[in-house]
């Protein structure tokens, strides 16, 4: 399965393409926020409170008179920052630990990794995340760390299985015979062969991260400074009951679109990268 075949497969997958377009669109939006073109006035109280959508405030304003459009757009950046950091770090961590555990399967390394994974899986997720957030009082990265600490296990499990398979492959044995160190073999021969797992896992972690952010921000232990869809939704929980829906609709619609895009992309990638070359 070469890159070309994968790409051809992806091109044939209409849902996957839609997903890719959505993700790219949001990435573009995030870039405009990073570049300072959009969403910069997210914290200014520039209008009256709870204005309905109008020419100045496309999505209306919130209680403080802040522009909901600017806030929801700025939140794209927040979502990408959280998603990217968590997806990259947790996938990398999972890949490294998983490869080591798989390579040294049945050794003490493997044993302790599996133990740690078992332990982390046995603690209720939100409790664990909340606990980390509390233990690291007020640090903006507490939430990221909490997610990374739980998300790596799935990747590690998959990579471990793959590494165990690869260990017995001839070319890996050949590399061993040539006297390459274990670390070098893992780096050169094992990890590159798990890319199909890592790519899919990274998209899954990305989605999980931005969905978790929403819940954590609602619980008050998520984003601390700035604005995010989770904070907007948290604001909206009281507003909707008084009939103000702008915050809720803006945040939930954008959140839904981005997550949907990533889910579609992730599915398509899973199909396209499946080494068994299977179809849907």
């Amino acid at each position: 399965m070469g890159t070309r075949r994968t790409w051809a497969h992806l091109k044939g997958d209409r849902a996957g393409l839609v997903g890719l377009l959505i993700v790219l669109f949001f990435l573009g939006v995030a870039a405009t926020v990073w570049l300072g073109w959009l969403g910069q006035g997210w914290s200014e109280a520039s209008g009256g409170r709870w204005l309905t959508p109008n020419a100045d405030h496309w999505f209306g304003t919130n209680l403080l008179g802040q522009d909901i459009f600017a806030r929801s757009v700025y939140s794209v950046r927040t979502a990408f920052e959280i998603g990217l950091v968590v997806a990259l770090v947790s996938t990398a961590l999972g890949a490294g630990i998983g490869a080591l555990a798989g390579w040294y399967a049945d050794s003490w390394i493997d044993g302790s990794v599996m133990w740690l994974k078992g332990v982390l899986d046995a603690i209720p997720f939100y409790l664990f995340v909340a606990a980390i957030a509390y233990a690291l009082q007020g640090q903006w990265w507490a939430m990221h760390l909490a997610m990374i600490a739980t998300f790596w296990t799935t990747t590690a499990r998959l990579v471990r299985a793959e590494a165990m398979k690869l260990r017995s492959h001839d070319y890996v044995r050949a590399a061993q015979a040539m006297g390459l160190t274990d670390m070098r073999i893992i780096w050169r021969h094992v990890l590159p062969n798990t890319v199909h797992i890592l790519l899919v896992q990274a998209t899954i972690a990305f989605v999980a991260a931005i969905k978790t952010e929403v819940i954590l921000s609602f619980l008050g232990i998520g984003v601390q400074d700035g604005v995010s869809w989770g904070l907007m939704l948290a604001e909206s929980t009281q507003e909707v009951l008084a009939g103000h829906f702008a915050n809720f609709i803006a945040a939930s619609a954008m959140l839904f679109l981005l997550v949907l895009g990533f889910n579609l992309l992730s599915d398509a990638m899973q199909d396209a990268l499946d080494p068994r070359g299977g179809g849907a």
Binding site: L116, I123, L127, Y134, I215, L241, F245, S252, V259
Partner: protein, 316 residues
């Protein structure tokens, strides 16, 4: 005899290690570095001595090993102490809240898995056809909606004048079947909505794998009807992963799932109690919840294995 005992002993030892790990990590995070309740328990104009006194009473100034040891001892003896916040004994608290969480979560959990299995079967069975594509599209959509969004939307939709206004906005004043259904419906629907995507997808993949097996083709070749194939052969062969999934989600659903639902709908179950324990730093409650969850998790792992052995003759 020894042949049987050795894997069992090994399993027990692993379970023990797991319990030690879970309790250690949760202790470290939630108790050692956890929230400090001293400052909500002191009165106005407290002096440093009074603060130190409260800290001392709460046991915050004891050394790590002592506190961890006490924690383990509490779990072993099930002497869980009293809530720092209310003075209620933790056992009473658990006895009061856990049943509520159970009756709150069970309908959604059962329906969620039931619907997931049914849709998964339907989808796997009609794989590649329009209804399969529809179900798959719906489950991806379902998976893309945040739980919080569903909670807010369903509350507006079912319980406010902006929607159907049929059910209570929140609370739990249950005194019989009618009031039970009255309060449990919206949380159940929300839970169902949030989980059906994940469940359907999981079960669909599982059933597709099972349907592709030779013995299914053989059964068909011998004239077995589709319902026999699906309900008898496919389902029975899928029992091990189904049971594993269901069993493993029980402790997490009861705690994590209800944490959000209960705190959102204001239902006095274990989830809300835990949430309150987190936000007020009520360590005896937190310790009990986490410790018991870990123990339950390990016990369930054990039970699942036994159950699977019964269900699949190849494992027995």
């Amino acid at each position: 005899m020894r042949e049987v005992m050795r894997p069992l002993a090994r399993k027990l030892f692993q379970a023990l290690l797991l319990v030690v790990g879970v309790t250690l990590i949760s202790f470290l995070l939630m108790v050692w570095f956890g929230p400090d309740q001293t400052y909500t328990l002191i009165g106005k104009n407290a002096t440093t001595e009074q603060i130190a006194e409260v800290r001392h009473q709460l046991g915050y100034d004891d050394p790590f090993l002592l506190r961890y040891g006490e924690y383990l001892l509490e779990l072993v003896t099930l002497d869980l102490g009293v809530s720092n916040a209310s003075g209620e004994s933790v056992r009473t608290l658990l006895a009061r809240t856990v049943p509520i969480s159970l009756v709150l979560m069970i309908p959604g959990f059962v329906l969620g898995n039931g619907v997931g299995i049914a849709l998964g079967l339907a989808s796997a069975h009609r794989r590649g056809r329009r209804s399969d594509r529809l179900i798959t599209a719906l489950s991806v959509t379902g998976m893309s909606i945040s739980f919080l969004v569903v909670l807010i939307a369903f509350q507006v939709l079912f319980s406010t004048p902006y929607g159907l206004d049929l059910f209570p906005v929140r609370g739990w004043r249950v005194s019989g079947w009618t009031s039970y259904l009255h309060y449990v419906t919206v949380p159940t629907l929300a839970l169902l909505f949030v989980t059906f995507g994940y469940n359907t997808r999981f079960y669909r993949a599982l059933f597709i794998e099972e349907i592709g097996r030779d013995h299914i083709r053989a059964a068909r070749a011998l004239g077995a009807s589709e319902s026999v194939i699906l309900w008898k052969h496919v389902l029975k062969n899928s029992m091990v992963p189904i049971i594993t999934r269901i069993m493993f989600s029980i402790p997490l659903v009861v705690i994590s799932g209800s944490l959000l639902i209960e705190s959102y709908f204001g239902i006095p179950g274990i989830g809300q109690a835990t949430f309150e324990a987190i936000t007020s730093g009520d360590q005896p409650v937190l310790k009990a919840v986490v410790g018991l969850t870990a123990v339950a998790f390990v016990a369930i792992q054990f039970l699942t294995e036994l159950l699977c052995r019964r269900l699949d003759p190849r494992l027995g």
